[in-house]
Symmetry: C2
């Protein structure tokens, strides 16, 4: 178990819980450590959503087979990251995806009810766990919402500007760094990399922005003060 402490402490579900309390909490939660070889199924499609999973080592893929039987990778989950929590908390009776080990992996599986229902001993950490779980889901929600707000714009230009304006607001500055390379930015905006490059060049020519690598500067053509 000692090997997992590092991964668990980085896991947002256990944030604020000290190392010495960890093992008693895990016992209280009935958490199970399991090992999987590559391609092995961790949670199978069609089964009830019961478990919240934490990747301890290796990596997990969430996959979904479509109507014609084509297998699609929905997400990669790395060490310390959670999976399955939305299905478990929403209480879906049959999960529409499978979780498989994309490489040899170890996971912690926790019955979600054990988190959301306080234990008989009135364990004081449930409070913290519930708070953490709420926070994780709320943050994901905000991230998703933001992404949808941006990618629902119809043109590359609009998507890019919506994204950049948001970054400028967050940084309280018209000069800021983004965490993406061009290819990653294109992926995030759901457009073609080369098309994105064209648009960036065009905006630069129009004097609307300046950029070098991951640094962007928005030049305001409107008389509004910098936020």
């Amino acid at each position: 178990m000692e090997n997992y402490v590092v991964a668990l402490q980085k896991c947002p579900l256990f944030h604020g819980i000290s190392e010495q309390n960890l093992s008693s909490i895990l016992r209280c939660l009935g958490a199970k450590v399991s090992s999987y070889s590559k391609k092995e199924t961790i949670l199978a499609e069609g089964t009830p959503a019961k478990y919240v999973g934490v990747v301890l080592s290796g990596a997990v893929q969430i996959i979904q087979d479509d109507y014609f039987g084509n297998r699609n990778i929905v997400t990669f989950i790395g060490p310390s990251e959670l999976f399955g929590e939305s299905f478990a908390c929403a209480g879906v009776s049959a999960i529409p995806v499978s979780a498989i080990a994309s490489e040899p992996a170890e996971t912690l599986l926790i019955d979600c009810q054990k988190i959301t229902h306080p234990c008989s001993q009135g364990c004081e950490f449930h409070q913290q766990l519930i708070h953490n779980l709420l926070k994780v889901m709320a943050e994901k929600n905000l991230i998703f919402h933001q992404k949808i707000a941006i990618t629902s714009k119809r043109t590359t230009r609009e998507k890019l500007l919506a994204y950049l304006m948001l970054q400028a607001q967050k940084n309280h500055s018209n000069t800021f760094e983004i965490p993406y390379s061009r290819q990653e930015l294109a992926d995030y905006l759901e457009v073609e990399r080369s098309g994105l490059s064209v648009v960036i060049s065009k905006l630069a020519k129009e004097g609307i922005l300046e950029t070098r690598q991951k640094t962007f500067k928005l030049i305001k053509p409107l008389p509004y003060p910098t936020a």
Copy 2:
């Protein structure tokens, strides 16, 4: 307060809580009923995210001003619906949006901490409230995730097929009804209505689907080349 019972009972946050318990719970939560005239601000941008709101009557808009000062409507919130819960649960120090009454409205504002932290009297309903809150956010999460999975496809055809295949899976049938008109479907898929019509006609000609109004039937041909 009696006037609000209907709206509150439809609110997912209070699901499973009987009418006779409602008022004591609201007292325990320190819930405040407020009335707003049209355009009045309910929650102001830049303020700490503290409150979960429930619309009792009227309607609320979530608006966000972009970098250039343009006001964008993010969402409409109708009676019995929640707002602000993601910001409150994520604990953001300054909300990036404002909530305003788009028409005369009444809302219930609850300090989110009061929900997530059990009251001193060990009120038995906190359990239920927390469960409900988790469920609301988890369901939103799944809805967002699904929408992103669909709209991240690059062509209208791929988006439409991704959406329809998912509906077929959900209904365990290749014939099913969708909840959207053509215009609404186009909005959901984030494409042009007329373009969507063209694609639907084309798919019908190719013998891949049949449709009449909101009823669709997927005919299983060779799997179409994906991505």
